[in-house]
Amino acid sequence: MPEGREKVLLRLRVNGTEHQTAAFPSRTLLEVLREDLGLTGTKHGCEVGECGTCAVLVDGRPALSCLLLPLEMQDREITTVEGLAHNGNPHPLQDAFVELSAAQCGYCTPGILLVAKALLEENPHPSREEIEEALGGNLCRCTGYLKIFEAIELAAERKAGNVTQRRRDAEECAV
């Protein structure tokens, strides 16, 4: 064990649940979520705040968990991808991402879903430019972002009740 390092007791509220865990104070929120709380849905791509992969919501706003110290998060509400579904029902964004295959490797997906959730809560009808801008800090290497934009737009339209059954449309178009 590195000398002079002692674990501290952390109290974190994640996805509506209080957690207590002991961790080195130098551990980032990302590390504590993944290593100490077993919430491995939050991913890491650089661990220095460059790729957006580890994005979570803190009090509803996007934040990079690799740059946050859990000690400072103790009275905050943290949301991770595991907290997106409600009573076992996927969030409309999750449905839309699945339906349009906006997740290829799926590694950047948790962070992007959370950033998109924050966007739609602040701006239920974002334009394409607003979506592009909101996701400006989240790298994706598989999709070229286009299916992600479309999925966010689909989720937004669904929330507004504009889109009915997507499956039917897809079947029509495949003729």
Binding site: E47, C105, E132, L135, L139, C140, R141, C142, G144, V175
Partner: protein, 852 residues
């Protein structure tokens, strides 16, 4: 790259209101072919061709997909590697005592404990797990530690002292050619030359002499890296019964399995490699890696599970990405625009190890003849060693670079000949079901439709050379493999195999060694099995990428999986149908031929009400035959080339692409902004158009990154930018709209006629961008990435009255060997090398500095 202008023309395609129109607009087109039809009927397909969701979609969108670093085992230790800080040095001494003394450190490993070398190719087994005597690049691993937690492992790694004796370092292609001593590797075809190859298919000098125009160019394609968002991670567990399990973020569990057995000296039958879903690969996780072997050995030393996850910086050092390649091409044309012949030279900066480099070198020359008909062709290739992380396969493996060179050359030649570049390309199409000059068998070809489609959709004829200054369009085409014809270890065994287990619950489990790296191979496996058995993909469970549970599939590389596992799955499923059909027909008392399977039932085609459901059919089959399990496998057809070196390039079939890119190029800032991309891709048959379009869009994105910003560059052997902030890659704000057209030319070799779509669409992007920059600004940028600096330099040169071009000045002297002489099929060859006819000797082409 800045945001595109507000006036950017937006495709209705990507406007959310017409979301579904996007799929309709891209409803595949059929190009008529005279080639043999697919073995598997494409009529009445129920699942193939549908825009279904991915089988792993829900898990990936819930954060529940388990990637390698998400794994934890009881008692697990964490490992860290110590990496060289010197580009080229002898290791004088390694002192691990500081690390050993730390509480929490369980094991320390150095190179002398693992003397056996490994490597992806059998001809270049040049890598040590940890360098025992000599380091060859900054980042080369020299020691590893395992400790109770990551913090302790990190601290212990810092306390390992390594004393180096520096050697002269080699950082550039020219230095590698010029340096006799020291040698980076002790093998190769020159002091620091790894590989030299040379072929000539017909007398190219004669062809060029007789041409009306010879287009001569020297071009350079800078190296770049895969940058998967998931850092490489591996977990090893050596159990007390002497069995080792390694979970890894690998695209090639089969080759990791081979390397572990070789280096660790364990029987392969006691090693199990499990490929976790990859968080992006793009070729960067296709080699067996040092860290995978190190954690296995550390687990053997400690008896505990050991995990390692590389830092982002370490991922840059693992690399195996795009080779920087300097190219010289001489391409002859008639005045009508027919290509007469091509002489092509490549010079690859390989980095410090072999990796896939021999194959990469061949690939810089192999597919030129597949894209356009080239009657005579000469290729000379060379790969050198330098003290940098090894280069290897990145999406398109060795072929985007020559495509870049040649698509620029074609654009320039069209201008010389006064032809439209699209028309010139249409003049030089390869015939379907024919042989190329270098003896590759091409089958279905949809390039004509691809070109016509993008020309039409982009308004090419109204835009080319007619847009205002600062705005331009560029066109380029390409072709790509659908799987390599030969396996890495040449043998007669299948390259892919699928096992099916049919359960009386109605569940079908498909086992296959294939690895889902995000491209959707697990889904394709489920779709194919479901199609053949007449059930829903939900009824198929896929178990993949596990060397103990699944039959061998060679891995997710060379765009091989859909075709090879697809064909293997069809065979396995058709064999299963034989059992089910026999049992069901007996029960239904109808002739076998009348039995049909669809929608989860087997029934009488003449009386659909008369049938049994799928689970019942399995019960009947089990009762009649015993437990039901079947296998299927696939091996590509033999290629007709018989000369040495003919093994790289053959493929069961090739995909084709054409794309038009419109750019804005600001003459003040030099910034080039893609406005829109139109791409048509011939994929034989869309297995799932939604996923296919996703692959095409991802390829365009990655191609734009390579064309405009991505570069893996070094300063005095140290990676200049080993982080994601400085290594520029396109963000959501840099991506342009893409209009994708899927062109279908059902191919006799593909499952239901399908060909690849995950790599080929990248190839035309970089040349289309530079051709568009020329259309916009009138300057030729003959090297990528097209950074603002390069554009401004070219503009400045033009203003000074110099050539309006930026690019390499010349091509060095390379000791290419006398080419192997192989007459093309239309000149009486039989696919074998022959003695060169006594005709006049070819003039030396070694002149320095000649271009255009």
């Amino acid at each position: 790259m800045s945001r595109r202008g507000a006036e950017t023309q937006r495709s209705a395609l990507f406007n959310s209101a017409s979301l579904f129109a996007s799929l309709r607009a891209s409803a595949p087109l059929r190009e008529p072919q005279k080639t043999p039809m697919p073995k598997h009927s494409t009529k009445n397909l129920k699942i193939i061709g549908q825009p279904l969701t991915k089988v792993d979609g829900p898990a990936k969108c819930s954060g529940l997909t388990v990637f390698a670093d998400d794994l934890t085992l009881p008692g697990m230790l964490h490992a860290k590697m110590v990496r060289s800080t010197r580009p080229h040095a002898l290791i004088r001494r390694i002192d691990t005592s500081g690390a050993q003394a730390m509480q929490g450190v369980q094991a320390v490993l150095t190179g002398s404990e693992l003397p056996v070398t490994f490597g992806i190719l059998p001809v270049t087994q040049d890598e040590h797990t940890l360098a025992p005597e000599k380091v060859r690049y900054v980042g080369d691993p020299v020691a590893a530690v395992a400790a109770v937690d990551e913090e302790t492992a990190e601290e212990a790694a810092r306390r390992i002292e390594v004393e180096y004796q520096d050697l002269k370092s080699i950082f550039s292609i020219q230095e590698a050619l010029d340096t006799e001593e020291p040698r980076i590797q002790d093998y190769g075809q020159g002091p620091n030359i790894h590989k030299l190859v040379a072929f000539e298919f017909g007398d190219t000098e004669e062809a060029l002499e007789k041409s009306d125009w010879v287009q001569e160019d020297v071009t350079f394609y800078e190296g770049n890296t895969h940058l998967p968002l998931e850092q490489h991670s591996a977990l090893g567990h050596f159990q007390p019964d002497g069995r080792l399990t390694v979970w890894s973020s690998t695209q090639t569990p089969h080759y990791v399995h081979r390397a572990l057995a070789k280096v660790l000296g364990l029987p392969a039958s006691r090693i199990r490699v499990i490929a976790c879903p990859n968080g992006g690969g793009f070729g960067g996780k296709s080699d067996p890696f040092n860290h995978e072997i190190a954690i296995a050995k550390l687990s053997m030393k400690t008896g505990r599970p050991v995990k390692i996850t590389l830092t982002r910086e370490e991922v840059f050092y693992c690399h195996r990405g795009r080779h920087p390649v300097l190219m010289r091409s001489r391409m002859g044309f008639t005045k009508e625009g027919k290509i007469t012949g091509l002489q092509f030279r490549s010079l690859l900066d390989g980095g410090a190890f072999g990796s896939y480099g021999v194959a990469s070198t061949f690939y810089t020359g192999a597919l030129q003849t597949v894209t356009y008909h080239i009657p005579r062709y000469k290729f000379e290739g060379c790969r050198v060693f330098t003290n940098k992380p090894p280069c290897g396969p990145k999406r398109g493996h060795g072929t985007p670079q020559p495509r870049f060179a040649l698509e620029i050359a074609v654009d320039k030649a069209a201008e010389q000949l006064g032809m439209d570049p699209a028309e010139l390309r249409l003049q030089n199409l390869v015939e379907p079901d024919s042989l190329t000059a270098n003896w590759l068998r091409v089958r279905s070809i949809g390039l004509k439709s691809c070109i016509e489609k993008v020309v039409d959709a982009s308004g090419w004829k109204e835009k080319f050379r007619q847009l205002p200054q600062g705005r331009g369009v560029g066109l380029a085409c390409s072709s790509y493999l659908t799987g390599a014809g030969l396996p890495i270890y040449w043998n007669s065994m299948p390259q892919s195999a699928v096992q099916l287990k049919l359960d009386r619950s109605g569940l079908v489990t498909a086992f296959c060694g294939s690895t889902d790296i995000g491209q959707g191979s697990d889904s394709v496996l489920a779709y194919v099995v479901a199609e053949e058995l007449g059930i829903d993909p939900d009824q198929v469970q896929v178990i993949t990428g596990d060397t103990s549970l699944t039959p061998v599939d060679l891995g997710s590389y060379s765009s091989r999986v859909t075709l090879m596992t697809g064909n293997a799955a069809i065979q396995a499923a058709q064999r299963a149908r034989e059992f089910l059909d026999a049992a069901a027909a007996e029960k239904l008392e109808i002739p076998l031929q009348r039995l049909t399977a669809a929608q989860g039932r087997l029934f009488d085609a003449q009386d659909p009400e008369h049938g049994v459901d799928f689970a019942e059919a399995i019960e009947l089959a089990e009762a009649k035959f015993g437990a039901i399990g079947t296998v299927g496998s696939y091996k590509p057809p033999r290629s007709p080339g018989r000369y040495k070196g003919a093994g790289v390039g053959p493929s069961p079939t090739y995909s084709y692409s054409a794309c038009v890119i419109e750019v804005e190029a600001d003459p003040q800032s030099g910034i080039v902004t893609p406005v829109k991309t139109w791409i048509a891709h011939d994929l034989g048959q869309a297995v799932n158009p939604l996923l296919a379009i996703g692959q095409v869009e991802g390829s365009i994105y990655m191609g734009l990154g390579e064309a405009l910003m991505e570069e893996q560059v070094f300063r005095r052997g140290v990676h200049k930018i080993p982080n994601m902030l400085d290594y520029k890659s396109p963000t959501s704000m840099d991506m342009c709209p893409v209009e994708t057209f899927l062109i279908e030319t059902p191919d006799a070799e593909g499952p239901y006629g399908a060909k690849e779509c995950g790599q080929g669409p990248l190839l035309p992007v970089p040349p289309a961008v530079v051709n568009a920059v020329y259309d916009a600004l009138g300057v030729r940028i003959d090297e990528i990435p097209v950074t603002p600096e390069r554009v401004l330099k070219a503009l400045q040169a033009a203003q000074k009255g110099q050539a309006a071009r930026l690019g390499p000045k010349g091509f060095p002297t390379v000791p290419y060997p006398e080419p192997l002489w192989v007459p093309p099929p239309w000149e009486g060859g039989d696919g074998r090398a022959q003695k060169r006819p006594a005709r006049k000797r070819e003039p030396a082409l070694q002149a320095q500095g000649g271009h255009e």
